[in-house]
Structures are given as C-alpha cells and as structure tokens.
C-alpha cells in the first residue's frame, strides 16, 4: 500500500498565509456561519469559501472524490430532513406555513414554501462550511501540523504526537499491505468473506490482529529510543522550525474575530440573521 497525502506545494495565494492564521480563520468562520439561517448572510460566507477555494489552484480531479462524498451526505440529510421528517429545527419554518401543494396518497404530505426555502438555505450553509474545510488536506503541509498547533498553544508533547503520527502513516500503510499479502498467501480472501455480518467481522481478525500487535511491539522500542534521546525531560524543548505571523496573517485573524463577534451580536441583540424567506415568494 503506497500512501499519498493530497498535499503538495502549489505556490498558491492561500499557502502564503501562516497555517495558524488559516486554522483560526477556518474554525472561527465555522462558529460564525452556524449563527445564521438567513440565506443572504450565508451567501456571503459561501462567496468567501468559493474565493478561498479558487485561490488554492485545486483541480477537479483532486477533489472530485471529496465532492461526491459531500453531495451524497448532503442529499441524504436534506432529503430526509425536508421530505420525511418535520423539517423543524427552526420554529420559523413551521410557524406560518404557506402550502405549496399537498397530497393524500400514498402518505399524507404537505410541502410548504418555507420548507423548500429552508432546504435551499441548508444547502448553502452546509456547502459554505464544507468548502471552507475541503481545501485543508490539499493545502496544509502535514509536516507543519505539529509546529502549527504548538504555535496555537498546544503543549510540546501533544504537538509532537501529531508529528509522530504522520511519521507512522507510511510505515503502517506498508505493514498493512504486507500483512494483507502474507494472509493472501495463506489462502485468505478479503473480497470473498462468507457468512453473516458477525462472521464477516470476525474474519477481519487475521488482518486486524497482526497489524495492531506489530505496531504495539514497535511502539515499545520507540518509547525506549525516545527516552534515550532525552524526550521525557521536562525542560524546554526547541522546535527546529518556527512560524512567524506577517501583516496579512494578523489581518486575517482580526477579520475572523470581528465577524464572529458580529455574528453573535446580530441575531441576539438585533434579531437579524434568523430564518428568512423572500417576501415576494409568499402569496
């Protein structure tokens, strides 16, 4: 098994920002977006996500798998939410319904303008969030995760855990492939599992056990090797690479904070940003 991370250097505008600033921006944006149900605001955030996306130089080939996954999930969730169940997390949706059409058979079902508009709003909202994050694997260097989160206040040991995890990924992928091959050589066939679901799961043991136990055994040596090179000492640790905020990073963080604050104040104090249906749609 050969592992490839989606990351590669793209020399895009997005990559010129400090990864910490980008994380802060992405996470604060998430918390901002969830405060709104007004499609006018949500369209703004969708626009921001689209702008970020377009600056990453991502190709369709790289992301189509992710998009397929997202559209599938979104379809299931929104279809069920709008059609099958009541569609009512927001009381405004069901408060003064304007019936679009109603049927009696095979089940009694009423479609309202509000429901349909709510589904559209949901699509915009979910898209703006997923699009915000879909760029992460392709534009953030996995080797910088450790120092990034160290720079965001995580302790040395936790930050190093991230680096170490990425170090193990290719090794474990290779080991998985080896175990797979070794068991195939013993006549084991993963794509030809027999029996009910319980038997099928139990038949995963010949793969799961060696891979896991082998990794635990190598862990023993790794612990020793790290302690012997002074890892357990409680003194201050130097990180070989450092990150530095530039003006644009500060600006990005400042923007994220301001928008978050606005998003908290607007709905609560001024009652703006809640569910909104364009007046011209309502008869």
């Amino acid at each position: 098994m050969v592992v490839t991370f989606g990351y590669k250097q793209r020399n895009s505008l997005v990559e010129t920002f400090d990864p910490r600033a980008r994380w802060i921006f992405s996470i604060l944006s998430l918390f901002t977006i969830v405060n709104f149900w007004d499609i006018r605001f949500l369209l703004y955030f969708l626009l921001i996500s689209v702008v970020q996306y377009s600056f990453t130089r991502l190709t369709w080939k790289e992301t189509k798998r992710a998009w397929r996954f997202i559209f599938f999930l979104m379809f299931i969730m929104i279809f069920v939410n709008t059609i099958v169940t009541s569609a009512g997390t927001i009381s405004d949706v069901t408060a003064n319904p304007h019936v679009l059409f109603a049927i009696e058979k095979p089940i009694r079902f009423t479609m309202t303008i509000e429901r349909l508009w709510f589904a559209l709003t949901q699509v915009v909202r979910v898209l703006s969030i997923t699009m915000l994050f879909i760029v992460v694997p392709f534009t953030m260097d996995p080797r910088q995760y450790g120092i990034t989160f160290k720079g965001m206040g995580l302790g040395d040991k936790l930050a190093f855990t991230m680096d170490l995890a990425f170090r193990f990924v290719p090794t474990l992928a290779r080991d998985f492939g080896t175990t797979m091959d070794a068991q195939k050589a013993r006549g084991y066939e993963l794509d030809n599992l027999k029996g009910n679901i319980f038997k099928k799961i139990a038949r995963m043991a010949p793969i799961m056990i060696p891979v896991t136990m082998n990794s635990l055994l190598s862990g023993e040596d790794m612990v020793n090797a790290m302690d012997l090179r002074g890892f357990s000492t409680s003194g201050k640790r130097t990180w070989l690479y450092t990150l530095k905020y530039r003006k644009r990073d500060i600006a990005l963080i400042a923007y994220s904070v301001v928008v978050l604050i606005i998003s908290i104040i607007l709905p609560r104090v001024f009652h703006i940003g809640g569910f909104w249906v364009p007046p011209f749609l309502i008869p």
Binding site: A182, Y188, D221, R229, T242
Partner: protein
C-alpha cells in the same frame, strides 16, 4: 574525571520482576577509551538486558532487582537520571525503523538536540557536522520512510551521535542490512572508535565483526559470562555449532569429527517446469521506475534455489510474482502452465507456499494449532488431513510442546518457526521463503533448514537470503539479482566463482565461500565447513 575509564561493570546481576530467573548474573568487564567491545551470545543470553542496564532503561523503564556496580567515567549511574546518562551514552537499537521519529532526515537527526533545548543555530551546526562526518549530507531533505536500510541505519546513528556521546551502545546494528551495507556500517564503527568513542557492539554475526578487530570480546550464555578477553581467544573456546565462526577455524576444529556433506531429498535435474517467467517487467505506478526490468527464468522440479542480491535489487518483487501477489506490467508469469493474471492468489497458494520475512506480520490465532490450521482450512483441505498436516508441520520446526500456546506469546525465534510451519501445513508443492534466517540464532536456523530441505513432499524450494553461506550450504541453483534483472543463474560453484559478477551484485565473498572454492577440485561441490574437514 578525565582519567576514569569510560565504563566499569562489576558483579552486575539483574532479574526482571515478572521472571523467575535472573537475566544476567555477576558480569565483570571494563571498557577503555576508543575501544570496541564485541558482546556476543545467542538470543536470550542477556545481551539486551545488559545494554538496558548500561543505558539506564533499567531501572528507569523496566523494573526488577539490580545488583552490582556500573560506573561511567568514574560516576555510578545510580546517581544519574536518564537524561544525564543519555548525554554520555548513545544507544542505537536493532531496527532503525523502530527508532526513527522524524518524517524527514533533518528532523530525525535534530530530535535529541531539540529535546535538550539547545539554541536553533547550534542544532543546525551540529546536525550538519555529524551528517558530514558520516557522509550523508545529501540525505538531509529526504523522507526517512524512503531511505534504504543502510541509509536508515546511518541516519539513526547520526541522530545519536549529534548528542555527542562518549560511549556508544549498538544493539545488533547489522541485523537488517545486506552484506555490503553491513561492511560499510562496520567501518564507520571502527572510525568512531579510532576517533575516541568507546563502543559496545552487540552482534551475533561474530565473523563479520572480527573484520574490524574489536579490542575485547564478552561472550554470554544464559546470562553468565563465559568468555571475556581478546578476539582470537573466543574462536578457540566457543561452540561453533552455536555461534558462526570463520570457516577455516570451524574446519580446523571439526577435523576430528567431520560431518557428512548435506544431501537434500530434492535433486535438481531439469524436471518439469513449475514456474515460468517470460520477459517480466514490473513497476508499482506509472510514474515510478521499473523494479523488474526483464526477467526470464524457469523454476523446475528438483530445484533448490537461493536468490541473492542486495536490498532493493528486486528479489522479493520477483518472488511475489510467482504467487500472483503482484502481476507483471508486461510479460507473463505462468504457474504450472497457467497465467497468474487469470488465477486467484488463493488458487495459486495450493501450489506455492510463501513464508514472509516477518512472523509478527502474520500471526493472529489464539493457539499455534489454529494458526497452523488457518492456511489449509482456507484452501479447503478436509479436517483429518488438516489435523495430520499441522502435527507434521510443527514437528518439523521442533515446537511440538508449544502447540496450545498463543503464537504471540512465543519468542521471536519461535514465532518465525511457527510462521514457517503455518506454510508447511498447507502442503504446497513449492516452498518459497523470504529471509528464512532473519532474527534466528545460527544453531536454530541451521537445524530447521536441515529438516525442511530433507523433508519429502516439496517439488522445489526457493529462498531469498543475504546470507551467502546459506546459499553455499543448501542451494543447488543460484539466481543473482541486480537492478531488477537476473544477472547470473546456475550451479552455486559456477555463479559464486565469478568475483566480478559478485561485485556487481554487491555480494561479499565469505570465508566459507572462499574455502569451498579453494577445495572445489577435491570436493566437486559446495558444502559446510564441518564437512570440508574431511578434505582438509
């Protein structure tokens, strides 16, 4: 302080809390500046425990009862914490894959220095210095995962040396290296010692280590010190069936009781074609270079084939094609006349039994018995036959008593034998083994190689190995692989006699090979040193 000896060990004993017997008992030795001490003995003799006592893992990470004295430059290590000890003593563990912590070479070498909290400039300086010293500066920006075994070892060593220890402990550093890389590593160790670092080198490849003239040798058996002195003295006293010694010494010493030359139940005489490779090319991905670059060869009934070549030459890739685990990018592999592209691996497994290198990557069952039954049951063998075949397989590797133990609770050497038995029980016609002797004691692997090769039932046996002597003793045909091609194919005394071709494949002639070539006019075939004694 400067006058004190780097390391003094007096009356050292240790017993792990969970064990009933001491792992090491009353050891006494000293290490002088710039000296190499070879620490030898079979698995379970206490080598690893002694290393742990010296580098402080005992008692800091492993609990038990420690008695006696260990002094580093005149200071008892009981007064030192792990960090202080690691400033003086650097340890390189057996498997570099299990000690490299960085995704990139630079990070890996800098790791210890980062932990010490040194200023960044100094870290970069030291890292550059040590990489220049080991001539690996060009690796700096490479991913550690992509390195070859020899490169990994050097990177791991660099990471330890960057901390500037005055004593170096090397725990079986040659285990995962091919002979050429091993020789290079050994010459680095010698250079380090000559530059003033004191080294303890744990290794059971005694013969190889003798080439760099260790000043002292400590030989352990069952945790006890059997021999302590200079290298020549060791050759006179240890049991040569336990530890592999230079062939000339073995021949001399076994003169009184020479052994019969080994004969296998298989006799290579151009029998029926079992596996055919026809202009096989292979690459993992389109944008990667070819691993196999045109292989043509046929495995016949009666062949005992040793595949030799350095790491990365394509040996394992070649063998995986026979079973169909990999399919050729172009060309054809036929197993008993059938294209491997058209049959499933499970079907092919009826014909070929393939033992992988590492047993821990395949053992999973609750008992040895069910582990051995796994393969035959997958192949759909009837119950009574499975029971019979597992019994027979376990006897072959001498592990009858462990039949109801969980395989994962056995020692590494035993696990390896279980993994071989698991394939034997499938009763395939052809047996293929990848590095069958890796991690095994000399006595053990010679014993099971003897019994496997004398065992009736196989039409052909093939093994991949770094150990030229294994090929010398057991093979009747040798394939020399280099850069994805078979560069020589023939009888051992034909293939191994051509020094130039061996150089090309980066294979080093061993003392046993040299002795056999010398005696060939008398013997007419290759054999082990004990058998050569008849012709001495």
């Amino acid at each position: 302080m400067t006058d004190a000896q780097p390391l003094v060990v007096r009356d050292l004993s240790f017993q792990y809390t969970r064990r009933d017997t001491p792992a090491i008992q009353s050891l006494n030795f000293t290490l002088n500046p710039g000296e190499i001490l070879l620490l030898a003995g079979s698995s379970g003799c206490g080598k690893t425990t002694l290393i742990r006592c010296i580098n402080g893992l005992i008692p800091h990470a492993y609990s038990g009862t420690l008695q006696g004295v260990i002094e580093i430059f005149g200071k008892s290590i009981q007064e030192m914490c792990l960090a202080e000890i690691s400033n003086e003593i650097g340890t390189v563990l057996q498997d570099p894959d299990r000690q490299i912590v960085g995704s990139f070479v630079l990070n890996e070498v800098a790791f210890g220095l980062e932990n010490l909290g040194l200023p960044r400039e100094e870290i970069f300086q030291r890292v550059n210095d040590v990489m220049d010293y080991l001539n690996i500066g060009f690796l700096k920006d490479r991913e550690t995962f992509q390195l070859s075994g020899g490169e990994k070892q050097k990177v791991a060593l660099a990471g330890v040396l960057a901390m500037r220890p005055r004593i170096l402990l090397l725990d079986e550093p040659l285990a995962s290296l091919d002979p050429a890389s091993a020789r290079e590593a050994l010459s680095i160790f010698r250079k380090l010692a000559d530059d003033g670092i004191s080294i303890i080198l744990v290794e059971h490849r005694v013969e190889d280590v003798l080439a760099i003239h260790p000043e002292q040798v400590l030989y352990l058996e069952d945790g006890k010190q059997v021999y302590y002195g200079d290298a020549p003295g060791l050759l006179e006293c240890v049991d040569y069936s336990q530890i592999k010694l230079p062939a000339t010494i073995v021949m001399e010493r076994s003169r009184g009781t020479p052994m019969e030359p080994f004969t296998s139940s298989l006799q290579g005489k151009d029998g029926e074609a079992l596996v055919e490779f026809e202009d096989v090319h292979f690459r993992y991905k389109e944008d990667l270079p070819e691993v196999l670059t045109g292989v043509n060869c046929t495995i016949h009934k009666g062949d005992i084939i040793a595949i030799l070549g350095h790491n990365g030459a394509g040996k394992t890739t070649l063998v995986k094609h026979a079973l169909g685990l990999l399919k050729p990018t172009s060309g054809t592999v036929r197993l008993q006349g059938a294209d491997t592209r058209k049959s499933s691996i499970a079907q092919n497994a009826h014909t070929i039994g393939y033992v992988f290198q590492s047993p821990t990557q395949m053992l999973f069952a609750q008992t040895v018995r069910s582990e051995l039954a796994f393969g035959p049951e997958n192949l759909g063998h009837p119950k009574e036959q499975v029971a019979q075949d597992t019994e027979w397989a376990i006897k072959t590797v001498h592990l009858e008593e462990e039949m109801d133990m969980p395989p994962l609770a056995l020692s590494f050497g035993q696990q390896k034998r279980v993994s071989i038995a698991a394939i034997l029980a499938m009763r395939s016609r052809i047996l293929m083994m990848d590095e069958p002797t890796a991690g095994q004691d000399y006595w053990n692997y010679m014993a099971f190689m003897d019994s496997i090769l004398q065992m009736p039932g196989f039409d052909s046996i093939l093994f991949i190995t770094h150990d030229v002597d294994l090929a010398v003793v057991y093979a009747n045909r040798i394939l020399l692989v280099d850069k994805g091609k078979i560069i020589a194919d023939g009888k051992p005394h034909e293939v191994l006699a051509e020094e130039e071709r061996l150089n090309q494949a980066r294979i080093l002639p061993t003392s046993l090979l040299k002795l056999n070539l010398e005696k060939l006019p008398l013997t007419g075939r290759f054999m082990r040193a004990e058998a050569l004694a008849q012709f001495a």
